[in-house]
Symmetry: C2
Subunit: 345 residues, 2 copies
Amino acid sequence: MARMQARRLRAAVAGATGAVGRELVGLLAARDFPAAELRLLASERSVGEPVQFGDRELPVERLETSALEDLDLLLLCAGAEVSRRWAPRAVAAGAVVVDTSAAFRLDPEVPLVVAELNPGALAALGPRHMVACPDGASLAAALALGPLSRAAGLRRVWAFACLSASQAGRAGAAELEQQTRDLFNFRPVRAERFPHQLAFNCLPRCGPFDADGSTALERGLVEETRRLLGLPRLPMGVTAVQVPVFSAHGLALHLELGRALPPDEARALLADAPGLRLVDDPAGEAYPHGLEAVGQDEVLVGRVRRDGGSEGGLALWLAVDNARRGGALNAVQVAERLASVLLSR
Amino acid sequence: MARMQARRLRAAVAGATGAVGRELVGLLAARDFPAAELRLLASERSVGEPVQFGDRELPVERLETSALEDLDLLLLCAGAEVSRRWAPRAVAAGAVVVDTSAAFRLDPEVPLVVAELNPGALAALGPRHMVACPDGASLAAALALGPLSRAAGLRRVWAFACLSASQAGRAGAAELEQQTRDLFNFRPVRAERFPHQLAFNCLPRCGPFDADGSTALERGLVEETRRLLGLPRLPMGVTAVQVPVFSAHGLALHLELGRALPPDEARALLADAPGLRLVDDPAGEAYPHGLEAVGQDEVLVGRVRRDGGSEGGLALWLAVDNARRGGALNAVQVAERLASVLLSR
């Protein structure tokens, strides 16, 4: 590591004060990322907020053109708008960009990568010098579907996603907390980040609707999963619901397969797959649930059983810490692979 | 109504202090149920708790054999165990029983009835003198699937249910409230009614698991929906999740149909169907969500759109007040129909 640091990799995190950003900075410290220099960047209003890096607090600087000078690697986690604006500038200034937002996930010139699933896609970094990371729900779905697809073929998939409030960033989680406090104190409840009260309520709506009535998250879950699995025409039916939890997504998958896959065989495949942890003992009340996934580096998978909808099909349930495992960890894992390439140049 | 009351129908509600029971007693008052006498019954520990009947409070008596004497109609909403014990005794004592629990829902000798969907099944009341009411999620699913099935045929259904805490009765809702308060006051959280913390968490578990890994609610949703629709072999894939809300279920349905049904045509069918209210203006942020369903006498249906999983298929989203619309109202509507039969004898 000392040798690598001697190569003086200069990295920056933009959006370092956000829900994904804080997790990401923490992971860079915990995993001893080979950077000689780490700049934490954010918008004007977050400058000065301290961010924990291991046992130190790092200062946050303003995201501006001068902050991108002499940079090898930029990790972007400040939302799609910031990514669209700053990713091309960082690349023009000579950096490679790892983007956690939705901005470039469906761009055919930008590889969409889950480190455990398709790291080979990094070889095709190409002229854009950017890598996109999928949404946490897509990452979880792809990690579980990958081994099952290779073993038995996927014909059709139905996915039902329960999205946590932190999907909408720190502001989303803060609104859920405030609404809950207000309800318990008989104060009026205000909804700003979400269109209706989320506290003690389920909103069948994650992101804006398109003309066909699907939401941005539902479209993304379909398109990103297809891309990650290399199955561009996989039929998928998706409903995503915003639920009043802070920190983890839940995801039901019902699969029609090319050949019947007994649950025991599927369990063995999932238990061996990287990035997943099998939690599947219903009799012992062990199954993936949100609180068990929080802070974990794996996507939890369980409730593996026959699907009543299709002969020989399967149903399963996933839980994933969307900010940490879904957002931050994958970006760090991608950055680690890029770092070893950059450092070996 | 005065004429009918002159016929002196004697009715009782067992489980009158529960989540469904209180709603039911309130509805009997509001709808001016034609009973000359209404007895409210509960277990020993709830005797004395006042229950609101219109602008009066009625006393609650102990559910015991003597309370069933000279009774025409017993509405049971105290859970499956109480129903299994007391329904046969009430029938033996001469009453007709309307049961809201799971005890007899799959009994081929007991009709399973949703008043708006299959009231004709009451004609086959038969020697058991009992009527079963479905679970709120099954009721909602059947009300929405009925008109679509008649119009286009159902080939396969995938259902994803978000169950409210009151599915587990007043104790379930009380535990969610207590857990939330404890969290906000930095007190340890205890889980008794649910196997894990439900506050700010989703548990992919509603009722005990069977050997195949499905829960009681998932099995019930399949079997009850099939019975209500008269489609005993309809393939259904179901996942049910306990979510941290108090008072309404959410339900996604993805359908493969016998013929393609454009969303507009489906919307027209659903808008005309009894027991449903179409809430479907995504651009105006109008879709069924739990808080909008609370206190309503209709199942809300919306987000009607094409399903990506099957050609020509449909996806929709339902919200239902499980205690009121799902549990109590249907039992009252069934009781009203039975009352008119009993009174015309």
